[in-house]
């Protein structure tokens, strides 16, 4: 099950957040800050799945933007990884110019 869907930039500013479970407002900002810290500390050749507290993070980096999805253990991590790319491609289809520039897509 997907717990949340985030788009955070390298400076830690949240560009999009959607929580599918109730999380307090103040906890959200803390959570996002910690998550981006975790993702930033990973190098290029490390895998995209991080174990964080009691769920997993699947993240994908597009230029300066990180798309992070929090899932629980019943999900297929690689399918979610594909889902992130699918989402980005959909955004690209609808808002092409803006998205391509921001995310350095093809």
């Amino acid at each position: 099950m997907i717990k949340f869907f985030l788009m955070v930039n390298k400076q830690g500013q949240t560009r999009l957040s959607r929580y599918y479970e109730h999380v307090e407002i103040n906890k959200r900002t803390m959570l996002e800050a910690e998550i981006i810290k975790n993702c930033l500390s990973r190098s290029k050749d490390q895998c995209s799945f991080i174990e964080y507290k009691d769920f997993k993070l699947v993240y994908r980096q597009y230029a300066a933007l990180f798309v992070v999805v929090g899932i629980n253990e019943t999900e297929n991590e690689m399918a979610v990884y594909e889902l992130i790319h699918n989402f980005v491609e959909v955004l690209d289809k609808y808002f092409s110019r803006v998205v391509s520039e921001t995310l350095n897509l093809l």
Binding site: T14, L16, S17, H22, I25, N26, R28, T29, S43, D45, Q46, C47, S48, F49, I50, E51, N76, E77, M78, A79, Y81, E82, L83, N86
Partner: protein, 820 residues
């Protein structure tokens, strides 16, 4: 009032903020503007304001004052208003706020709206934040929409149904008829959401699961999956050459749930699983995602062995892949399957061990767990080498887990004692500070058990702490061993290795430095001090030095150390005759698990420092030498001697040492409960008896006997037996003195044959007054499970007329009723 700015402007403005404080200021200003606009009840711009509010909410600022506005927007007729209103409801409202119930009517109306998009909005919102009351009210509408032919609505209704079922499980049956035709759709959206709905139903209710198995859902799913794989290129569903991988993964997951523990279903899906496993393209991540799901399904259902081998081979191939994600996923799945398909996974052991050297933390953790699961008797040496190397180089967060894992594996599969001790030494020296606290007593117990390795062990431990005594668990184990086996160290006997020349002073040097060092924890210092004390009996020329050290710590600030030092000092001064007995070598310990009332959880290694806390005994104690006499006198036949306890508690370490001397002595004690180490002691005797001093139900009178009558000392035995526990006999002895002088320091000792067990409670006093003017009473409990004839040898010691008297006697005249 100027028109409120658009959302776009707001975003642009906020992005120009350079600091957090600036951003907060801008947002507060805008919030104030929005609030005043709400107060004016302005319909035209409400939508815009709420949109901005939602954006600010997403950034983390409170937006609760917009909740009612969302409701007003939902009630409006304009689609743009409704859209923002429902979005706001999804983000800001949930069942915690009471206002959400006001939405119910709006949603109901919108579910029956003429425009499908409005219906869609309502379905989305209900499916996102509907509370149980709302779901109950609106479930009927949702179910109606589930049967509509409009695929746009159908898929949304399916997802809404999932939410309804989660909130109100009782409503599941309502949706059952609608599911019949769901899978006949061509539209992938409907197919996907239907599979999600079916999955949710199957997971929640075993009845549903059985129903779906019967309704031959599996063949339907198999057919759909087959179409997906076989069909040609379909542009709207294509992802990197594979047709709708997301749907494929969902179907595979549902197949997994259906096939679990069910042979028929599993058989029906065998073919398709094999087909997916072999035909899917593995060059891209998409294909691998599908293969991963397939492997998980194969391992979970009752598949045939050929299929399982195929699955594990796929995982093996994943392990060799360069992509980290795939390797991680493979390691995770292998961990799940290693329990069931151990041999198959063993084949990939070398690859797994290579993953230990990977740079990625997640992969390393998985590889470590998997390696521990794969260790067995055959590969333990090789695996241990790799794991020790890993322990050396891994991150600190792994070291504790790795060390514990290595200890466990070494314990289970050690090929030889020396190897085991070498491995432990290696772990202690490389990751000594990360070893868990409970490992120390386990290690100590292990070391005492390998008797022939004592010299080797103590030598290696000594060398290890010579250089570095900062790792606490290592120093604790080393101090304990040096304290126990210091004499072996100094005498230089070691068969396994080149013996080193160590003098007594050098050993004391290192122990003293541990005591003084700032790096040593309080517990470690305790260990060191006790070790130094023990060496006073093992070393010959440095006793004075030891005395000095002990007396220094008598005024230490640390209360624990101070108490120990004071007691040891007392040992030197007042009870020097008892010191050798008290500080004798520890016996071999058995691993004791929690054992009910006796409750000795830890081995002697742990209790030993605690044990010596009890005060040194008063003069009533029988030192070991006397116990020795008893043993000699009794000829060491099948009699097990029993030493009674003094009236007050005595340090059980004395008991420990006595135990060593006297083999399997049954140390039965009165009031001490915890500190007395009961080695190989069946607890039932103490369990039943220690809580009840005497039985309340006394059997028919058993004649009492005079057990001993000599030199004016008479000892009578009276018997009691319980109906509830017929193998126990309680003997009360009464000792009286018919001479004209008191008998002082009277101690009664008894020994019974091996098949019996004896417990001596404390005597009433140790002085028998003269002229029969008083008696000493003492209670003996005898356990006689085999109902053999009771025999007893007794030994009496006392002071009379200024001289110490001692006598032995055998009591054979027990009445038959006392033991039959």
């Amino acid at each position: 009032m100027p028109a409120p700015i658009r959302l776009r402007e707001l975003i642009r403005t906020i992005r120009t903020a350079r600091t957090q404080a600036e951003e907060r200021e801008m947002i507060q200003k805008e919030c104030a503007a929005i609030r005043s606009s709400f107060r004016e009840e302005d319909n035209t711009y409400r939508c815009r304001n709420v949109a901005k509010l939602l954006y600010m909410h997403m950034l983390g600022y409170p937006a609760h004052f917009g909740q009612l506005e969302c409701l007003k927007l939902i009630a409006s007729q304009k689609f743009t208003d409704k859209r923002i209103g429902y979005l706001g409801a999804m983000l800001l409202l949930d069942e915690r706020q009471d206002v959400h119930l006001l939405m119910t009517n709006c949603i109901k109306n919108d579910l029956n709206h003429s425009t499908q998009y409005v219906q869609g909005l309502a379905l989305c919102t209900l499916g996102c934040m509907g509370s149980s009351e709302m779901c109950r009210d609106l479930a009927g509408e949702v179910e109606k929409l589930l049967k509509t032919s409009n695929s746009y609505l159908r898929k949304k209704a399916a997802l809404c149904a999932v939410h309804v079922i989660r909130k109100v499980p009782e409503l599941m049956e309502m949706f059952l008829p609608a599911t019949k035709n769901l899978l006949n759709e061509k539209n992938h959206g409907v197919l996907h959401t239907s599979v999600v709905l079916l999955t949710e139903m199957c997971e929640r209710s075993p009845d549903m699961l059985a129903h779906f198995r019967k309704v031959s859902l599996v063949p339907q799913l198999v057919r759909i999956l087959k179409n997906l794989i076989m069909s040609g290129y379909s542009p709207e569903h294509d992802v990197s050459g594979i047709s709708d991988p997301f749907l494929q993964v969902r179907i595979l997951r549902l197949l997994r749930i259906l096939g679990r523990n069910d042979d028929d279903s599993s058989e029906a899906m065998n073919d398709i699983l094999a087909q997916v496993a072999t035909n899917t393209e593995t060059s891209k991540n998409v294909g691998n995602a599908i293969l991963y799901e397939t492997v998980l399904t194969i391992m979970d259902i009752k598949s045939e062995s050929g299929l399982r081998v195929l699955a594990i081979n796929i995982l093996g191939r994943f392990l060799l892949n360069n992509d980290k994600n795939i390797r991680y996923v493979a390691l995770t799945s292998l961990l799940k399957t290693v329990q069931t398909d151990h041999n198959a996974v063993q084949r990939h052991r070398s690859t797994i061990v290579d993953c230990l050297k990977d740079l990625d933390v997640s992969i390393k953790r998985r590889a470590m767990e998997l390696s521990f699961a794969l260790v067995n008797g055959n590969n333990v040496r090789g695996m241990m080498k790799e794991l020790l190397y890993f322990l050396d180089s891994c991150e600190p967060e792994f070291k504790a887990d790795c060390a514990s894992g290595i200890f466990l594996a070494a314990e289970k599969y050690a090929p030889s004692k020396r190897w085991h001790i070498d491995t432990i030494m290696r772990v202690l020296t490389t990751a000594g500070s990360y070893v868990r606290d409970d490992a120390v007593p386990n290690l100590i117990q292990l070391i005492t058990n390998s008797v022939e390795m004592h010299a080797y062990t103590v030598q290696r431990l000594y060398k290890a702490i010579l250089g570095d005594y900062s790792q606490q668990p290592l120093v604790q184990v080393a101090s304990w061993c040096i304290g126990e086996y210091g004499d072996l160290l100094v005498s230089g006997q070691c068969e396994e290795e080149e013996p080193i020349q160590v003098t007594e002073d050098e050993v004391l040097d290192i122990l003293e430095s541990v005591l003084i060092s700032n790096m040593s924890a309080s517990v470690t210092r305790g260990y060191a001090l006790t070790a130094i004390m023990k060496l006073s009996t093992r070393f010959t020329c440095t006793v004075n030095r030891i005395k000095k050290v002990v007396s220094i710590y008598g005024s230490s600030i640390d209360v624990e150390l101070q108490q120990r030092a004071v007691e040891y000092n007392a040992l030197f001064k007042k009870y020097d005759h008892m010191r050798p007995a008290l500080l004798e070598r520890m016996p071999v310990m058995e691993k004791v698990t929690t054992n009910g009332p006796t409750d000795i959880v830890q081995t002697n290694g742990e209790t030993e420092p605690a044990v010596l806390e009890t005060k040194p005994p008063p003069s009533g104690l029988q030192p070991a030498s006397q116990a020795n006499d008893l043993l000699d006198l009794l000829g060491g036949s099948d009699i097990t001697p029993v030493i009674p306890t003094a009236p007050t508690s005595k340090p059980a370490s004395a008991g420990g040492e006595l135990l060593d001397l006297l083999g399997d002595l049954n140390l039965t004690g009165s009031p001490i409960s915890a500190p007395a180490p009961q080695i190989a002691q069946p607890p039932f005797l103490l369990d039943g008896l220690s809580s009840q001093p005497l039985f309340n139900d006394i059997a028919a009178g058993i004649p009492s006997i005079t057990a001993y009558n000599k030199n004016g000392l008479k000892i009578d035995f009276t018997f009691e037996r319980s109906n509830t526990n017929p193998s126990v006999t309680v003997i009360t002895i009464q000792a009286s003195n018919s001479t004209e002088l008191d008998m002082t320091d009277f101690v009664f000792q008894a020994a019974v044959p091996k098949t019996f067990q004896l417990q001596l409670l404390s005597p009433s006093s140790s002085v028998i007054p003269a002229f029969n003017s008083g008696t000493i009473t003492q209670v003996i409990k005898v356990l006689n499970p085999q109902k053999q004839q009771l025999r007893m040898r007794i030994k009496l010691t006392y002071n009379h007329k200024g001289s110490a008297m001692q006598d032995l006697a055998e009591v054979n005249n027990f009445p038959p009723q006392s033991w039959q």
